[in-house]
Assembly symmetry: C2
Homo-oligomer: 168 residues x 2
DNA sequence: ATATACTTTCAATATTTTTTGAAAATTCGA
DNA sequence: TCGAATTTTCAAAAAATATTGAAAGTATAT
């Protein structure tokens, strides 16, 4: 397979993959493009390579920057802005985990905390099932929260080593 | 907070949560409703409690069954079908992991395998960056694949114990 | 065998999400 | 300060996705 074709496939599947995980296709595609580009790109480069409009490109670059996955790069003597993505996949994963934890897991845990204290008699099976379900989700969520914190702080080598050792 | 209100909140946030992870709102809401219902429910129960149409309800129950998260229950002497969700959250998580691994991770790894063998000279930085990126994603993916396999097979107690021990 | 209760399908519709592109805003060199 | 280059915004349009509801299909009791 030729490079150009391989790139296309990579970008397009990365986009499809993203949509299965609640990430918009264009954002995932821009990320994919930057991941496989040796040098920083401009908005115009991305527009051209992905065939998308200026506004779309701009919005999604911005979103990727919010996620901490892409950075602005200033090339001396250039007026235009360039962008580049972190290439170390382990760092990328940690960053995504960190963001999703903050955006989704933590608010969810707060809610479960509140719901756990619902009024009512636990001898009523409706109350009991509700509280038991909420509590067990909360417990799992808290465990995940702790585990992910450790993962976020961990070095790749440490983490991989741990995985190798215990999940062989 | 009253039970009825707590239920509403739980269902609605579970739905919103689902949409962040590529799961359709109604499917997540039906799942939430079944999780907190002590007894099996009929389609009509769900339609009424969630205010959704018959077709929508039916399609999403079916999808939940495909995911292995919901089961049909036959109550003797009853004509109608009843449905119930697995309440053990650890089992639920393992089942979701198992399905997503099969549906998403494995096909992705197959693709990466193919893309890794792109034609071209690795001294060309475009080729090099592409191959390096693909390889490192593949490596991480393979590691995740193995780890998740172990997790799918694991007992809750074993897994939680392991987590406690190593990620305190 | 028929009527009735119940389930499934799917074309049409509604809703949500994404994308466009042109106008406004900003930046920067001269 | 001016003006060209560049970036950002956002209302409108397009596309994707989810939902409805009525008709068709199935199963069961009598």
């Amino acid at each position: 397979m030729k490079l150009i074709e391989a790139k296309q496939q990579f970008i397009s599947s990365w986009g499809a993959f993203g949509t299965h995980w609640g990430i918009n296709r264009t954002m995932a595609q821009i990320h994919a493009l930057l991941l496989i580009s040796p040098d920083p790109l401009t908005q115009d480069d991305m527009m051209e390579q992905l065939n998308i409009s200026r506004g779309n490109t701009n919005m999604n670059i911005r979103e990727l920057i919010n996620w901490g996955l892409v950075e602005r790069v200033l090339l001396s003597g250039e007026r235009k802005e360039y962008f580049t993505a972190e290439k170390d996949i382990w760092k990328v994963v940690r960053q995504i985990v960190k963001e999703r934890k903050k955006r989704e897991l933590e608010p969810m845990l707060q809610l479960l905390d509140k719901l756990e204290n619902v009024e009512g008699d636990k001898r009523d099976k409706h109350v009991k099932t509700f509280v038991d379900t909420v509590s067990s989700i909360k417990k799992l969520g808290q465990q995940a929260d702790k585990t992910l914190d450790t993962m976020i702080k961990a070095e790749e080598s440490w983490f991989l080593g741990m995985m190798m050792k215990f999940f062989k």
